[in-house]
């Protein structure tokens, strides 16, 4: 009996360690590819949302409290030698998991220039359809910061996804308006 008491956890631990090792190898192979693709996608999305952009500079390293605002990357966007807008790659909590998006905010006016969704794990037919909905994406275009709370007229079955995105965008705007006063 005592033998089994030690033997079974030991076997489970060994199986767990072997599986963790296999996962680590796969992660080591795939993670750089996934990261590189996300960065490339972000750059393409910025150019689509803000065609006037001349240079895109990653300035995330200057901030150490990004997790608090669900922001993963910050880009300064320069036009005519001036930093006229900022782009943020952030993560919202949807119904089924993380929703990674890119949002461009104006430095001159208090408004959102545009938003683009990079990846999500939402359910097809609900959250995933909302994110793919052109009307929903267009609603963010040139939206003043103070009108975000009022919401959209779009009727969807994905309330949790919608609220998760709005909550995360509010956090990003808060960061943009308060922490990045020097922008």
């Amino acid at each position: 009996m005592k033998n089994k008491f030690l033997k079974y956890p030991l076997i489970l631990a060994i199986v767990g360690i072997i599986c963790a090792f296999c996962l680590a190898i796969v992660y080591w192979i795939t993670n750089p590819i996934i990261n590189e693709r996300n960065i490339q996608k972000a750059k393409e999305a910025i150019e689509e949302l803000y065609p006037n952009v001349e240079t895109v500079e990653d300035v995330s390293k200057g901030y150490d409290n990004l997790d608090q605002y669900s922001i993963s990357t910050i880009y300064d966007l320069t036009t005519g030698g001036e930093k006229k807008a900022s782009a943020y790659q952030a993560v919202g909590k949807g119904y089924s998991g993380d929703i990674v998006y890119l949002i461009v905010l104006s430095n001159e006016e208090e408004k959102i220039i545009g938003i683009s969704f990079i990846s999500n794990s939402e359910t097809s037919g609900y959250g995933a359809d909302l994110i793919a909905n052109e009307e929903f994406v267009a609603w963010f275009k040139d939206l003043p910061f103070n009108k975000l709370d009022k919401g959209t007229d779009l009727s969807t079955g994905a309330t949790k996804t919608m609220n998760g995105i709005k909550k995360s965008v509010t956090k990003v705007i808060d960061f943009h308006s308060t922490v990045r006063e020097d922008k």
Binding site: K4, Y8, I11, V15, C19, Y27, I34, N120, G125
Partner: protein, 217 residues
Amino acid sequence: MEEKVKFKNIIKTGVFTENPILVSALGLCPLLAVSTRVDNAIGMSFAVFAVLLLSNITISLIRKLVPNEIRIPIFIIVIATFVSCIESLMKAFTPELHESLGIFIPLIVVNCLILGRAEAFASKNKVLPSIIDAVGMSLGFGLVLIVFSLVREIISTQTLTFSNPFNTTQSFTLTLLPELKISLFGQAAGAFFALGVMFAITAAFHNRPKKEKKEVK
């Protein structure tokens, strides 16, 4: 020769006599969820095949080392590991397919088909028959999933779209049944309706009156 017949029977069992969806009613969750498009169905079939194959091989290899009392947690750890590996690989190399399958890739862990075959077959048989079993069961699962998706996609969108899973900009669309469009088939309710019809057809086929053999005097 005997081995060949045995392997043929294993395949036949997976595809027809014990088809995981039509006969055992296993793996219905992905069937209902990802069958809106044939592309997704093909992707899910390959993902299930990869996980089932790898888990059957591993479980068959370790079957004599695994104590009976803790076999289920070990099977689940093994299956979850392979599902996570397949998910990471899909995210890296077929990101569009990964996005369209979404949450249903990690949910392969709880697909009764995988655990069912680990418990019923791989844990009691050698590696080669376990591989054949994985092929047969995946074929049975994949064929039904693809046919089910074909019906749903054609009826709900009037079209059939195929995309390159490695580059979704490469795709072509066929317009079929321009007169018939029932959007309901693209939604959850339509999936249940189509599933009911499919089960009814299968039951009718299995319960069909059989011809009585003439007695030979």
